[in-house]
Amino acid sequence: MEPVSAFVNLYNNFFFIALPYIAVIVFLVGTIYRYRSTSFGFSSLSSQFLEGKKLFWGSIPFHIGILVVFLGHLTAFLLPKETLLWNSEPIRLIALEVTGFIFGLSVLFGLVSLFIRRISNARLRVVTSKMDIIVELLLIAVVILGCWIALGYRWGSSWFAADLSPYLWSIVKLSPQIDAVSAMPVVIKLHIILAFIIMLLFPFTRLVHFLVAPLHYIVRPYQKVVWNWDRKAIRDPNTPWSPTPPKNN
């Protein structure tokens, strides 16, 4: 076996050890800091109000697709053994791969529609920031790479679960093992690097709305009434003299 050159070593160490840690730390610190300091800025910044028809053909395929694809990656990462077990049957493997690929195409279609919509509409250009464009292009790049990988390096779900999940877990466990990822083809490496870059930029983009998805809506009662003071106690004759008035907020 040829000795790996120092440059390649450095490159691998940077992109698959340093970058993931930087990305995770910036992601965590950045989003928490931003949420706590200016939660006013946490918004999906919907532009449907200015343009609604083309949005349908971009937003729906993109969001549905990315949810499925993201959950797929998450499953292979969290449950590698179960994923491999599922893939042990060829029909199930092909079903999984085809599903993933279709939703990947859906993401790509959505992103491209959204991009065309955004740059072709004068009203939308007013509400488009530079970061929106950067994120959009990064996402398009990562999805194109992803679809390419799914077609060209079969079967992704299996080798992800077998080789990359352990790598990601080694990052989590603070003892990075990059042998497997270093041996990956360059397309796959690029896909991984771009994913970490998106994670790094995440707190500084509109993508943060993903973290405040309104899942609590499912369980909350429809109506919401807020009292500044505890109304059952505020007229208690003792409360005016107590050091802590019966406050609700």
Binding site: G52, V127, V212, Y222, K232, N249
Partner: protein
Amino acid sequence: MDVRSQVSMVFHLDKCIGCHTCSIACKNIWTDRKGAEYMWWNNVETKPGTGYPGKWENQDIYKGGWEKDGDSIALKGAGKKKGLLNIFHNPNMPMIDDYYEPFTYKYLDLIESPASDDQPTARPVSLITGKPIDIKMGPNWDDDLSGTPDYARNDPNLEGLTPAEQDAMFQLEKMAFFYLPRICNHCLNPACVAACPSGAIYKRGEDGVVLINQDVCRAWRMCVTACPYKKSYYNWNNGKSEKCILCYPRIEAGFAPACMHSCVGRIRYLGVILYDADQIESAASADESELVDKQLDMLLDPYDPEVIKAAKANGVSDSTINAAQGSPTYKFVKKWGLALPLHAEYRTLPMLFYVPPLLPVMASVTEVSKDQNDNLNPIAKQWTDSWLYDTSTEELWGTIDQARLPLKYMANMFGAGDESKIKGQLQKLMAVRIYRRWKTVGDISEEKVNEVLKDTNLTAELADEIYNLTSLAKFDDRFNVPPAHREQAIEMLEFAGDEKGSTGFGIKEKVQRGL
């Protein structure tokens, strides 16, 4: 009994002259800034007309409010299931063009154009893109355009009127219109609150004002769909929803809301009403025919010792109970039964009430022959050519049934479609007018007046009371809201040195669009 208090408003539509001063006062204080130019938290519409946003009352288009769902009710265009399923693209959301594209004019061109053979013009430019646009719609675009095919005849309230009735309405000789000022109704069963996936919208317990916490709003924009009155607006610039806040910083400080304070016709009354929150659910899900009655039944008599006791047990302060006892809105809504909620059929239990307009329905024009001329009452009836213009008030029930604006039309707005709901109100207004005419002009007999008062369950004292609060009321009579409960208002504890051009109140960080 779960007694709560609500600051409510009454609009006396007979007094509204459609001057839009309220809209301008509101605009100047709250919505004169980027992203909010198109918003009119207060707007005044000409009725019949399509209003703002266009045809907002047609819930087949906008899917606002609640609808009956078995024994219960469900949001028409939002809610947990529809809201979350449509979160990536809301098919029921009104677009900017349903309101209008905000614009200004290039006034500088008038001054700076080089000398030429032509007059310089100030072209309209979009306030969104800054590019020249053709204005297709604007605020109160259909102002005073009753009878026009594009606007008045597309009024959703014409539903249920026969084509003949509609044609009769828009005959030139019979044409009438009135003005409808609208702000957020601060409902008891607000659809916007229920539709907000983030839980950013809430109703203040102390005074019932419905507010949006913009730090929690995430632009899922379901409130815009859910509000049947289209009074929750999406700020396209900073990606947050906004709505009328009933000028709560002013109310807390003892001032009337800007719209009310500036009202030229003094049509607005603001006061506290106590209500029983336990009845909200049953009132909101009542049958359509009972909706108005059940909502009015929820409003409690502030002099009833039981009510006072329950209110105190619920933490309602003494000053609020006092204010409820002197509330002008309680008088109009409950004591005299003159004011009705707007579109009760949306089932949000709106807490702004309207005294339906009598003026347009009073006079009538009929074709008569010339020989009747001698028998005419010189004050009430005028005869020109072959037309009789009749403002006679003697035939109380006759003129109301032959109203210029058909009762059915008024009932569609204020009576959930039921004509009998609106008729009593108009009769009472008419009775007070007949009574005053007897007192001041004297061309009506006392027997007739007594008969009319008896028919409408009024007494001379009540009629005088109504007349006084309608016509002679001073500011303190029209505005009775308890003195600032600053100690109870968390918002007042924060820095409120807000200024024009900022977003709402109490936001301490720089208000800017997120990344």
